[in-house]
Amino acid sequence: MILSGHDLTIGYTDRVVGTHIDVSVATGSVLALLGPNGGGKTTLLKTLLGLIPPKAGEVRLDGQTLSARSIRERARAIAYVPQTHIATFAFPVESVVLMGRTAHGTMFSRPGTRDRAVAAAALQRLGIDHLATRPYTMISGGERQLVLLARALAQEPAFIVLDEPTASLDFGNQGKVMAEIRALAAAGLGVLFTTHDPNHALRIADRALLLRDGQRIGEGAVRDVLTRPELERLYGAPVEEIYDKHKTAFLPGAVTLPPRAIPD
């Protein structure tokens, strides 16, 4: 299955954020969305989710126009993991995950045993079943991100769209969430995520799309697109590249440390 946008003009009622954007992600693969702040990443995500209509162009799911599907059908195909936030009410974690089953019931239906089983399985899959009865407001940021991911899994979607899943996480949790995202793709889901760190894209994405000032300025396999010149063009700032035999990593900026005595 493929989720794609064709010649999209994206934005809000009073404002155009981006034009002529083509984007495509297939099930079983990971696409990373990179670009400076205000470049239109989140707007593009919301357009692909069907939360805001494209101002021109078309979003297609499995070859069909997305807007032709009902809001419930869309939620059963594409799940959204927003940036973590603190909920107003101290729902227990399992209730939060159970909300992912909303699209599988009708307006009035109560969650059934199958819904509870799916929610429990999602918690288990991410290794956070011990949090089930804890209030969502009382767990750490990393745990909260995993809970939102479990809620998305409970939707049993074909695609998961994540808005900066690693932002605001500590180093260890960043690694954990990235490993989970890769595992989702291995299990057959299509994943689309935004990030500020090209290294995160290099680590888990198959392809990357570079978005600057609402324009797509590059798209392709991460190895081809995430290069020093491309990144410097994307962010308009110097970038340093580090290699070893198998891997590449990027450091932001061009910083010259003052000479200092290196103990040896």
Partner: protein
């Protein structure tokens, strides 16, 4: 979900039962528990209870309608407050946030100004509440914004203050000897005037609104998320929001029509209920309905017994509600930010 909500529901039901017993027994004419049971048994079996007719009158003609009114109004305000707190994602919201009370107040004061009868005044209050919320909703929806909830709340504040000006004008123009005291009394809220006949037209809208909120309670958890998140979960938030606002407005306007402006109940009770059964709306909606009925019943009993003269209900609920609100504010800053 595994934790049992049973103890919480038992406590809420206990409060309601206690409220009913206390409300029937205490007052200027005390009725013992035994007499209460005998009279009830008599009504059920159809046999004469052997009680003095005065006691029967106190139980069934004077206190009965008032108990029923307190139960209906308390339940209505509590369920509406619970729904609004979820919908507006704010635990400091009360059922009159969208102007239901100020609209109803203007309607009732207008009715008193025109020297209409009790039923007409109630009808005007009810219609006034509905029109006010309808206007707030229409204006709020016309303003395009990415945060429809915030726009609604602000519109509610603005329209509420306009309606307040209308109430002020009518009070200024009213006959200071006949009409003004009636208006003041009504604006303070009271169940003293509750008669059995007045309650019949009120119970239907309260029941209808409560039923809608009750069947939608499973969706309210997700409705308490930010709008886009709820839609990504598959909820058509627009129509559902209209349904919840309409249902909560129906119960609020109907209860204001019978009891006048009784503030704070819809703010305080959902919090007490949340402490009993947790924040999950599937349990919270029924729990706060039961607790709201018991709460207002106890306060109304206080209102008619603590002083030689009856204290207006709205004053007591405010005296209890204000410190509670301040405590809540302090607590919110500690745990919710």
């Amino acid at each position: 979900m595994t934790r049992s909500a049973l103890p919480g529901f038992l406590i809420a039901t206990g409060v309601l039962l206690l409220g009913v017993v206390v409300a029937f027994s205490v007052g200027r004419y005390p009725v013992s528990m035994i007499d209460l049971l005998r009279s009830l048994l008599g009504k059920l079996t159809g046999e004469p209870s052997g009680l003095a007719p005065a006691i029967e009158t106190v139980i069934w003609q004077i206190r009965g309608p008032r108990v029923l009114a307190a139960v209906v109004v308390g339940a209505a305000l509590a369920i509406a407050g619970t729904a609004f707190q979820g919908l507006f994602r704010n635990p400091l919201v009360s059922p009159d946030i969208l102007g239901a009370s100020s609209g109803a107040a203007l309607g009732a004061v207008f009715g008193i100004f025109l020297s209409l009868g009790v039923f007409a005044i109630q009808a005007l209050a009810f219609v006034g509440g509905l029109i006010a919320v309808g206007a707030v909703y229409a204006v709020g929806s016309a303003v395009r914004s990415r945060d429809p909830i915030l726009v609604l709340v602000l519109t509610g504040v603005v329209i509420g203050s306009l309606l307040g000006a209308g109430v002020g004008l009518l009070k200024y123009l009213a006959d200071p000897y006949n009409q003004l005291p009636a208006m003041t009394f009504w604006l303070l809220g009271s169940l003293a005037a509750a008669h059995a006949a007045d309650l019949v037209p009120v119970i239907a809208p309260v029941a209808a609104g409560a039923l809608v909120l009750f069947v939608l309670r499973w969706r309210m958890n997700a409705m308490s998320l930010p709008d886009e998140e709820a839609r990504a979960l598959g909820i058509a938030t627009g129509p559902l929001r209209v349904a919840i606002v309409a249902a909560a407005t129906l119960t609020t306007s109907a209860s204001v029509a019978v009891a006048g402006i009784v503030g704070w109940v819809g703010l305080v009770v959902p919090h007490l209920a949340r402490a009993l059964v947790g924040p999950d709306f599937a349990r919270l909606i029924p729990a706060s309905t039961i607790l709201g009925a018991g709460y207002l019943l106890l306060i109304d009993t206080l209102a008619r017994t603590i002083a030689p003269v009856e204290v207006p209900l709205g004053i007591l609920t405010a005296v209890i509600g204000t410190p509670f609100f301040i405590w809540l504010l302090a607590r919110v800053q500690k745990t919710w930010s």
